[in-house]
C-alpha cells in the first residue's frame, strides 16, 4: 500500500473530497470504495435487475466524478452520493418503464476446448447451507416486494431499506410527505400480510375482535382519509 493510499484509507470523507478536488485519484477511489456498496444496494433495490443496477452505479459515480467541483464541502459526501444514486436509479427506472426487460444474456458460452484459468477467486466466508437458507429467505422477500405496486415499493425501499427520511423520500419521488406516509403504511401492511402467509403459525392465528370485514373497511376508509385529508373535514 502506497503512502497516499494509506493516507486515503485513514482520512475522513471531507478530507478525501478536498484532496480529490485537488486531483488525487487515490482519494477519490477511497470515497468510491467507502460508498459503492450503498450506491449499488440503492440501485439494486430500486431497479431489481443486476445489469441495470451496475449501469446506474457506474453512472452515479461518473456523475460524481464529473461534478465533484460543484459539491459543496459543508454537506456530507454520503448524503450527496446517496441523492445522486437515488436520482440516477429512479431516472433509469423511468426510462425502462414501458420497455420490455427481456435479457438476451442467457446463452451459454461456446465450447472452445480450452480450459480457462479460474477467473473468479474469492474465499467463501459463510457456510453454504446457511447461505442457501438465506437465499430462500431472500426469494420470499423478493416475491412479496415485487408484488407491491411500484409506487408503494419505491417508498418502502427508500424509507425502510435505505433509511431516507420521509422528507428525502418525498423530494426524490416528487410527491408530498403525506403521500410518502400513506404509501409507506400501505407497503408495510401489505408486506407484513404477505410474509405472514409464509412465516405465520396457522395454529395460532388471531382474529381482530370485531368483524374482519368491518376492520378492512375501516382501514380503507382511514387510508382514503390520509390521502385526501379534505374529505375528512367539514366544509
Amino acid at each position: 500500500m502506497s503512502q497516499e493510499t494509506h493516507d486515503a484509507a485513514t482520512a475522513d470523507d471531507a478530507t478525501l473530497v478536498s484532496r480529490a478536488k485537488g486531483g488525487d485519484f487515490a482519494a477519490f477511489e477511497e470515497l468510491v470504495s467507502r460508498h459503492e456498496g450503498r450506491v449499488y444496494s440503492i440501485a439494486m433495490n430500486i431497479l431489481r435487475q443486476r445489469q441495470d443496477a451496475e449501469d446506474a452505479t457506474q453512472t452515479a459515480f461518473l456523475n460524481a466524478l464529473e461534478h465533484l467541483e460543484r459539491f459543496r464541502e459543508e454537506a456530507a459526501f454520503a448524503t450527496w452520493i446517496t441523492r445522486v444514486a437515488v436520482n440516477t436509479a429512479l431516472k433509469a427506472l423511468r426510462k425502462r418503464k414501458g420497455l420490455t426487460t427481456v435479457s438476451l444474456d442467457g446463452g451459454l458460452e461456446a465450447e472452445t476446448g480450452e480450459i480457462r484459468h479460474p477467473e473468479l477467486i474469492a474465499p467463501w466466508p459463510g457456510d453454504p447451507a446457511k447461505l442457501m437458507a438465506q437465499r430462500d429467505l431472500k426469494r420470499i422477500l423478493d416475491e412479496a416486494i415485487e408484488a407491491l405496486p411500484e409506487k408503494h415499493r419505491l417508498v418502502f425501499v427508500l424509507r425502510d431499506v435505505e433509511g431516507l427520511s420521509v422528507r428525502e423520500a418525498a423530494e426524490a419521488l416528487g410527491i408530498s410527505e403525506a403521500n410518502v406516509k400513506v404509501r409507506l403504511l400501505r407497503a408495510r401492511l401489505a408486506l407484513r400480510e404477505a410474509l405472514t402467509r409464509t412465516f405465520g403459525d396457522p395454529t395460532r392465528r388471531l382474529f381482530p375482535e370485531h368483524d374482519g370485514a368491518d376492520q378492512a373497511t375501516a382501514a380503507e376508509e382511514l387510508l382514503r382519509l390520509y390521502e385526501n385529508p379534505a374529505r375528512g373535514r367539514t366544509r
Binding site: A26, N45, L65, D160, L191, Q215, A219, L222
Partner: protein, 89 residues
C-alpha cells in the same frame, strides 16, 4: 384507543415518532389487544428483515470494472496526468 386509532398511528409508533402523550395509550391498547400486538411485532419484523436483506453486496467483477472505468475517466479528465494504477501526482 381503538384498533382503528392504532392503525392511524402505526407508522409513527413503529418509527419511534409518536407523541409521548399518545405512547402510553398506544401501549395500553397493545397490552389488551393480542391481534394489534401481533400486527405491530410482525410489522417491525418485516421492516427488519427487509433492512437486513436489502444490503446487497456489490459483485466483485463489477467492482473491478467500475474502478477501472473511473480511473480511465479520471485520467481523461486530468489530461493524462494520472499514473495508471496509481494515485495522482
Amino acid at each position: 384507543m381503538t384498533c382503528k386509532d392504532l392503525l392511524k398511528m402505526l407508522n409513527d409508533y413503529v418509527d419511534g415518532d409518536v407523541d409521548p402523550s399518545f405512547c402510553s395509550a398506544f401501549e395500553e391498547h397493545l397490552r389488551d389487544c393480542d391481534p394489534c400486538k401481533v400486527v405491530v411485532d410482525t410489522i417491525r419484523n418485516t421492516i427488519r428483515l427487509y433492512k437486513d436483506e436489502g444490503v446487497v453486496e456489490i459483485p466483485i467483477l463489477f467492482r473491478e470494472r467500475l474502478h477501472s472505468t473511473l480511473r480511465r475517466r479520471w485520467q481523461e479528465k486530468q489530461g493524462g496526468q494520472t499514473r495508471p494504477g496509481g494515485p495522482a501526482r
